[in-house]
Amino acid sequence: MVFSSQLFLFWFLPAALVGYYLAPRRLKHLVLTIFSYVFYGWANPAFLILLLASTLIDWIAGLVMAGTTPWSRTPIEILPKGVRRNRRERLALLLSVTSNLSLLGFFKYFNFAVDSWNGIASVIGVDAATLDIALRVTLPLGISFYTFQSMSYAIDVYRGDAKALRNFIDFACFVSMFPQLVAGPIIRFSEVADQLANRTHTLAKFARGVAFFSVGMAKKVLLANPCGQIADTVFDAGAPGVLQAWHGVVGYAFQIYFDFSGYSDMAIGLGLMLGFVFARNFDSPYHSQSITEFWRRWHISLSTWLRDYLYIPLGGNRKGVRRTYIHLGLTMLLGGLWHGASWNFVIWGAFHGALLAIERAVGVDRLYGWMPRAMRVATTFSLVLVSWVFFRAADLPAALAYLGRMFGLGEAAGAAPLLSGLLLGPYLAVSFAIAAFVVWGAQQSWTWTRELTPLKIVIALGLLVVAIAALSTQDYNPFIYYIF
């Protein structure tokens, strides 16, 4: 079930909101958890077992670390910081981390590992070593998000950043909350622990949630989907011309930004309707003047997660220059691999890691400082575009071939004029132009929804109505990050 579907908008969401607001306060988390499990199970009920298992393991790990039981009446204390943890606490953390990473590893990377092994064996001519495994593992929806989210709880409790939760329903609600369950933003337990215990439901909050949701829906349906058509058309083309190749990858850059930030806006909006405040996940990333800045603005919940739970625990920049670059590279490589099990994502992560390392070594000011601002933004955007080719292309040869097209290698096919005919048709051209304007000329959602004037209210409702109407003419268009 996706947010931009009639099932969600006209059946699930009204039922969830009515159920939530009619439920007495002490049952709200139970109701929200039940609706979240229905939401998640709709795609494949079998995967509910994984969600439940991941939740149970981390909940138990938290209780073990806190040295308590579900039926105890003793208040749970936050673990003291700066104190060496005992064996029980360390084992509980180990249980959480290994079980979550095992789930993620098996369900997300099993096929990739087998295919890669067989590929390598074949290349080096050791066919006898290839694995004849018929098993193909289906990737459970959102597993990358909820395992990270669930794991963050155990780590936060272990570090003394958060108190363990005794109530299983409260914890299950945190892990499974449908607004952000399958595609983020990744919510850290320490960030919402207070809100789980105590949050407000106000009309202003709900109204801003509606505004966020409307903007997000419009981003997805009115901008991301048409830009996706541009990207699909060019990436599927055999031999696009140079300009067409750049047009296609810019289309993809717009698609992935509006798709994911639209989803995040909808998630934030839905959270607000339920009384939760989630932190921002995007901050106009294509305004960035360096790759370092890009990663402070793009998918912020993931980049800060990786920083706080991987880069810093590895040692960050505290263990010398050489180790800093190793930590940076490793973090970005794993960040790439987190997105998907393919070499394209590994290269995407490595490319960003290398750029970050260069900017760190040379200095952002020395690298870009001599350029005017617009040129710095254009340079950063161009580098990001090159990286998106690896993200979007079907496989590594396709990515390299596409990059070749972008830089003038190879002749355009005889049918290439047809591509221009489609891309420059009124609908796609207008959508592309509006997308560009919104990327570089419009306020971002957090700013735009801050003051809801009568005009903005009309615009928000208008966007929602037009987006819902447009949905009826579009094919099924799941969010890109649903597959991660």
Partner: protein, 432 residues
């Protein structure tokens, strides 16, 4: 109370930001109320329709039905938990699709919005592209023409053979066609391949807007190599592309405006040329006296239909045509489905197009026009759907007596099927 002490900056920022929300109570009420009303409108429309006795998602034969607890219980006892999960998953996906497609709200909005998009923004949908002056084109044709070369090793290597729908998944048609030609030759039969070019490849100016005129037809980069490979291997290929392109340049419209197929004029000219081609190469000694009658005809255009407009207000739906219906002497309609003839035409919708029922007179399809130009019977086996499955066609030829009395098998294929079809190689192993 604060249970969190770590980096709460982002959360604190967000909380502070939400705290700064500025909206008047009346505005907040209006936005919230309108939003909730909008959410409830979907279910309300369905309930209202059900109350007035109209068939919809909640009422009548087409209503959404969830699997019952009893059914799920039986399934669980017989096949276990995963089977129940699978059943629920299928039911859920089907319900989501039905609601998206058939809900009252979607039905009410889809037609007018698609009408606006096609009229003012020249935008079709995932299946139909709009060109200049209301010319419609099939998206699959576009994907075939602009897609990767279908014979490229990287493309062929990825071929799955199980009804692929994407150019990058299509196995090579070359071994499949060569195998069939060899099998037929081993039985003493001739074989001719007739690849029918795409409408977009022939009439591309009508898509681009007429800024450029003339020049050759457009084709997938592998098209020429495929035909050359077949000819070099001794396979007879009758390629009507130059003929149809010539017609297009002269303004004779070899393709229909609202339909993905060739026009009666395109069929007639191709059939005439193919008849000459066959007579030059094969000994065909059957004779049949056939005549033609010029008739006005309206076809429900496939692309006009796929555009998804209100059938009552769809300007693209009906294609007015002049057809040449084929008769036997005395006005007896000629049917291309009799199965008799030394020439067997195996094809797809390009062959079936303009088959007519007895009341409306003789066929005006490719087989009938070929029979007219040959003045000899032509047997035809063609299917609209799944006509691009090579294995299915070989399956037809394997049926008993299908090749009895034949001299030549003509395989007509839509050119787009070279990259979008299923070319899983299949041999004529069964003795005829």
């Amino acid at each position: 109370m604060s249970s969190s002490t770590a980096d709460t900056t982002r959360e604190a920022e967000a909380l502070a930001e939400i705290g700064r929300t500025c909206v008047r109570p009346v505005g907040a009420h209006l936005l919230t109320g309108a939003f909730l009303l909008l959410l409830l409108s979907g279910a309300a429309l369905e309930l209202a329709a059900a109350r007035t006795g109209q068939e919809n998602l909640l009422r009548g034969e087409g209503r959404l039905v969830a699997p019952s607890f009893r059914e799920l219980g039986n399934l669980w006892r017989a096949r276990g938990t995963l089977a129940v999960a699978g059943e629920l998953r299928e039911a859920g996906v089907a319900a989501e699709d039905r609601i998206q497609r058939d809900s009252r709200l979607a039905a009410a909005v889809r037609h007018p919005l698609q009408g606006l998009l096609s009229r003012y923004l020249r935008y079709g949908n995932s299946q139909v592209l709009l060109g200049e002056e209301q010319w419609l084109f099939f998206r699959d044709d576009f994907d075939h023409l602009t897609g990767a070369p279908f014979l490229a090793p990287s493309v062929v290597a990825r071929g799955s053979g199980s009804a692929p729908r994407h150019p990058s998944q299509a196995p090579s048609p070359l071994p499949a066609i060569l195998g069939l030609a060899a099998d037929l030759q081993a039985r003493g039969l001739g074989f001719v391949l007739v690849p029918v070019p795409t409408k977009l490849g022939i009439a591309w100016e009508r898509f681009l807007g007429g800024r450029e005129r003339g020049g050759p037809a457009l084709a997938n980069p592998s098209q020429a190599a495929l035909l050359e490979g077949l000819r070099t291997a001794g396979v007879e290929v009758f390629d009507p592309t130059p003929l149809l392109r010539e017609m297009e340049i002269r303004g004779e419209n070899p393709y229909m405006r609202f339909d993905s197929h060739w026009s009666p004029a395109g069929i007639d000219r191709t059939a005439a040329a193919l008849a000459t081609f066959l007579r030059d190469r094969f000994e065909l000694d059957e004779a049949l006296s056939l005549e033609r009658e010029d008739l006005a005809f309206e076809r429900r255009a496939d692309l006009g239909d796929l555009l998804g407009l209100d059938p009552e207000r769809n300007p693209y739906l009906l294609e007015p045509l002049r057809i040449q219906a084929v008769h036997r002497p005395g006005g007896r309609p000629y049917s291309s489905r009799s199965g008799h003839g030394q020439v067997l035409l195996v094809g797809d919708s390009f062959s079936r197009l303009l088959i007519r029922n007895k009341r409306n007179g003789g066929d005006a399809n490719f087989a009938a026009e070929l029979a007219f130009h040959l003045q000899a019977p032509v047997a035809m086996r063609a299917e609209n759907d799944a006509g691009d499955s090579f294995a299915r066609r070989v399956g037809w030829l394997r049926q008993p007596h299908q090749l009895d009395g034949r001299r030549v098998v003509v395989l007509e294929v839509a050119e787009r099927s070279f990259s979008l079809g299923d070319w899983t190689s299949e041999r004529l192993t069964t003795a005829q």
